[in-house]
């Protein structure tokens, strides 16, 4: 997989995906030399191609991120991966404090502040390479009948307190529903990227049911300089269903915790936990469910589906020959390749039919969705199109269950307050990094 390095402008190692940063410090020195050499000519290095690998450079403020890869991933995709890493670092420290730290001390060792977060970044990179949601910019949502999803949304809408801005219900890293403060949505909305980062952060920290977590967190796409205070609590003994409440008030823990109690109680009376565990046990959607007939012995279509305006994506259970991890990774590499061809900046495509060694792939992008499918190598073009049409018809029929279409809203503050900045998380003035 791709090697990923993060270093400071002074060439200090900050993170390395594999190996120890200290041992790699000379490698990082060379990287930094390349960056500054190009920089001295008022230019910026973007990438280096060698016979079998690509090096991609991203500079964001005082941080330099480098990816070295031998996979089929395009430069654009590797750049995206590096940006995810950068955003995850921001989610823990914020842009403004990173800038301030390096302004004061150019050779600061940022690992001091990121201690313990290597796992979070490692996990993020593994997800980026295995979860189609990251590639498509969409969050995986748990397929659930619309009536049940609405009921859960309504339940979150009722459990509110001042300064609460987002209520998010998650089951095994799949989004169940997300409710937003009305005043916030006008300015901005919850970006899939921010949700990915938030869910990764939660997934990477230990949890048990009795504990309620209260932590500052920055949603960099929403506002790279401010913190929200996140309340995170699991609702079942197995720690599969998780409630995340984001507030702008760092002192509001007890009030927010009280909201959770109300949610918990309402869910108990409605039997929501059983509904969710039912939803988790039934496969996301299987090819059998789609009911595509007439291709005995052929590979089922495996399709991460993405509907742009909804930014959510269910993806089917991988079946047949794609049960092993290596095969899944190989298939996902092929999807990466198709994705890069479709989104090529020089020659973008809308439809691509690709015959590979072991399978035939078909990807299709319209203004409404992005669909990636995989067939047996013996499929005909007409046959593949026929299956695709059926699949799309099925998705259309099931879209209320598969996608989150209209996220509900609530209003926690009768008067959003402080001028135009109402509903925004508190920024640099919150004193979180005053001590530095």
């Amino acid at each position: 997989r791709a090697m990923v390095f993060v270093l400071s402008e002074a060439g200090k190692p900050i993170y390395s995906r594999y190996g120890n940063e200290e041992a790699l410090s000379s490698t990082m020195g060379v990287m930094m030399a390349l960056v500054s050499f190009i920089q001295s000519g008022d230019n910026a290095i973007r990438s280096i191609y060698s016979d079998d690998r690509k090096l991609v450079f991203v500079q964001q403020g005082p941080l330099v991120l480098v990816s070295v890869s031998r996979t089929l991933q395009s430069e654009q995709q590797l750049r995206q991966e590096l940006l995810y890493v950068y955003y995850q670092i921001l989610s823990m420290l914020t842009q403004v404090s990173i800038t301030r730290i390096f302004e004061r001390k150019k050779n600061y060792d940022l690992r001091r502040l990121l201690a313990g977060s290597e796992k979070i970044l490692d996990r993020l990179l593994n997800l980026v390479e295995s979860d189609p949601g990251f590639l498509l910019g969409a969050v995986r949502c748990l397929p659930l009948p619309a009536s049940q999803r609405d009921a859960l949304g309504a339940l979150l809408q009722k459990a509110i307190t001042p300064n609460l801005v987002f209520s998010i219900l998650v089951a095994q890293s799949q989004l169940v529903t997300a409710v937003q403060e009305r005043a916030v949505i006008e300015e901005c909305r919850l970006e899939p990227t921010d949700l990915h980062l938030l869910l990764n952060l939660i997934g990477a920290s230990s949890a048990f049911q009795a504990g309620e977590i209260w932590t500052p967190i920055c949603l960099p796409r929403f506002n790279p300089d401010g913190y929200f205070y996140a309340y995170i609590s699991y609702l079942d003994a197995e720690c599969t269903v998780c409630l995340v409440l984001l507030s702008t008030d760092k002192e509001s823990f007890y009030a927010v915790s009280d909201c959770k109690k109300r949610v918990e109680e309402a869910m108990r009376t409605q039997g929501s936990l059983q509904v969710l565990s039912g939803g988790l046990q039934s496969p996301s959607y299987s090819v059998g469910q789609v009911g595509v007939p007439g291709y005995p012995g052929e590979l089922p279509p495996a399709a991460p589906v993405h509907q742009r305006q909804l930014s959510s994506s269910p993806s089917p259970e991988l079946e047949g020959p794609y049960c092993s991890e290596e095969e899944q990774q190989r298939l996902f590499d092929l999807y990466h390749y198709l994705h890069s061809r479709i989104h090529s900046t020089s020659r973008p495509l809308r439809l691509i039919y690709h015959v590979a060694e072991k399978e035939t792939l078909l990807a299709w992008v319209t203004s409404k969705f992005e669909l990636y499918t995989c067939f047996s190598p013996l499929v005909t073009k007409a046959g593949a199109i026929n299956v695709l049409t059926k699949l799309l018809r099925w998705i259309k029929k099931e879209e209320d269950r598969l996608f989150i279409r209209y996220p509900p809203k609530y209003s926690t503050t009768p008067n959003p307050g402080k001028g135009t900045k109402g509903g925004r998380p508190d920024g640099a003035e919150n004193g979180f990094f005053a001590g530095l």
Partner: protein, 194 residues
């Protein structure tokens, strides 16, 4: 029986075992592959102490430096602070001394300080002598125990000792309603502190 709510926070370097101590105390379980805490984790456990019920409101804080500035939010209004170090890592004991200083300067005036030298099951690789730690604890009038969250050594004793040190409410008659009020106190007193 009277119910008293006691806010307790755990402080100390990352990886010394704060969360493990809390898990052992609250759930009586241990996970060797525990991940670092983010921010702080809140838990409660009620135990009987003499003729009172003590409900511990436990704030298990993250030891990583980036969360350091948040600590006042958790120790403010605390009845007790448990500062944890790792007996196999000398530097965690120095961090502990800094926490003691910080509590003396900014913490609540009557806060009970307890020092826990965790991982005492790893005696072979010990770096901090029990006597040195004990002497230091005595010099600051702190509770001192060596604990092992892994082997469940001295975990309950630590909290019992805290219960014992907390000034009793005899001066003002204890009542259950009093207990409930305490819970709201942090949010009431905060504006005055800042």
């Amino acid at each position: 029986m009277a119910l008293r709510e006691l806010k307790v926070c755990l402080l100390g370097d990352t990886g010394v075992g704060k969360s493990s101590i809390v898990w052992r105390f609250v759930e009586d379980s241990f996970d060797p592959n525990i991940n670092p805490t983010i921010g702080a984790s809140f838990m409660t456990k009620t135990v009987q102490y003499q003729n009172e019920l003590h409900k511990f409101l436990i704030w298990d804080t993250a030891g990583q430096e980036r969360f350091r500035a948040l600590a006042p939010m958790y120790y403010r209004g605390s009845a007790a602070a448990i500062i944890v170090y790792d007996i196999t890592k000398e530097e965690t004991f120095s961090t502990l001394k800094n926490w003691v200083k910080e509590l003396r300067q900014h913490g609540p005036p009557n806060i009970v300080v307890a020092i826990a030298g965790n991982k005492c099951d790893l005696n072979d690789v010990r770096e901090v002598m029990e006597k040195d730690a004990k002497d230091y604890a005595d010099s600051i009038h702190a509770v001192f125990v060596e604990t092992s969250a892994k082997n469940a050594i001295n975990i309950n004793e630590l909290f019992i000792e805290i219960s014992r040190r907390i000034p009793s409410t005899d001066t003002n008659p204890p009542s259950s309603s009093k207990g409930f009020k305490l819970r709201r106190q942090p949010s009431v007193t905060k504006p005055r502190c800042c």
